[in-house]
Symmetry: C2
Subunit: 140 residues, 2 copies
């Protein structure tokens, strides 16, 4: 097996190779991390910073769309704490604050990329499923 | 380039191959899907069903952990509407309801697998970053 094929197999759950930690402490830690990063706002901020490089707070808000100031602040702070985003304050008046992805942020963006690919590949089927579900519920 | 290497490259954002749709309607659709599926409960339910096959409602709740009944109901209903989960009601008294992943649910599990791998690979660095962040904030 070539290294590339071996690496690809990591993503294939159908062969029961899900990377599940057996140590309960590690399992709890990984679940905590998933709980923090598996979030649509985190994914959309990663995407905005991946696409545009360094951005100011208000620019991130515009790229992400309908996120509240409070949620944007909270999500960026969590991403900074986790080491996904670096925040640089330029000491001018008023202060100029810029955000960009760290190496670890880029790597999480890469990991989520599979989910974007999935969403693009399956949106037709998802919409058909939603319509069928709504029809079934309407019929009951 | 072998097909395996080509497939792997999808996951590599460093080469600016992010799968970004250019059509605004498609972009909105994909963002809506991401908004629904990029969620820690969805990820944890996918994992429980991937590991255990068919499960009853209460069994899923136990495997996922600290999820409320209301959130479990809401998440499973969204996953059923999106075609990720199939729900079978056995007509006994009391009714016996079972959930399992559809093919599309399995494929989303596979797409998220990269995020689990990432969380396992980076938990040490994330914890170190959180400790350093807390120390910085304490020092201010």
């Amino acid at each position: 097996m070539t290294p590339a094929v071996k690496a690809l197999k990591i993503y294939d759950w159908s062969e029961n190779e899900a990377p599940k930690p057996v140590d309960p402490a590690l399992d709890a830690m990984v679940r905590d991390i998933i709980g923090k990063v598996a979030d649509k706002w985190t994914m959309l901020i990663l995407e905005a910073l991946e696409d545009h490089g360094t951005l100011r707070f208000s620019e991130i808000g515009r790229k992400v769309g309908d996120i509240s100031q409070k949620m944007l602040t909270k999500t960026l702070r969590q991403m900074e704490a986790d080491g996904l985003v670096s925040r640089v304050v330029h000491p001018v008046i008023p202060p100029h604050v810029e955000y960009s992805l760290t190496d670890m942020g880029h790597s999480l963006g890469g990991a989520f990329c599979g989910v974007w690919v999935w969403a693009e590949a399956h949106h037709d089927r998802i919409e058909a499923s939603r319509a069928a579900f709504a029809a079934r519920r309407g019929a009951v």
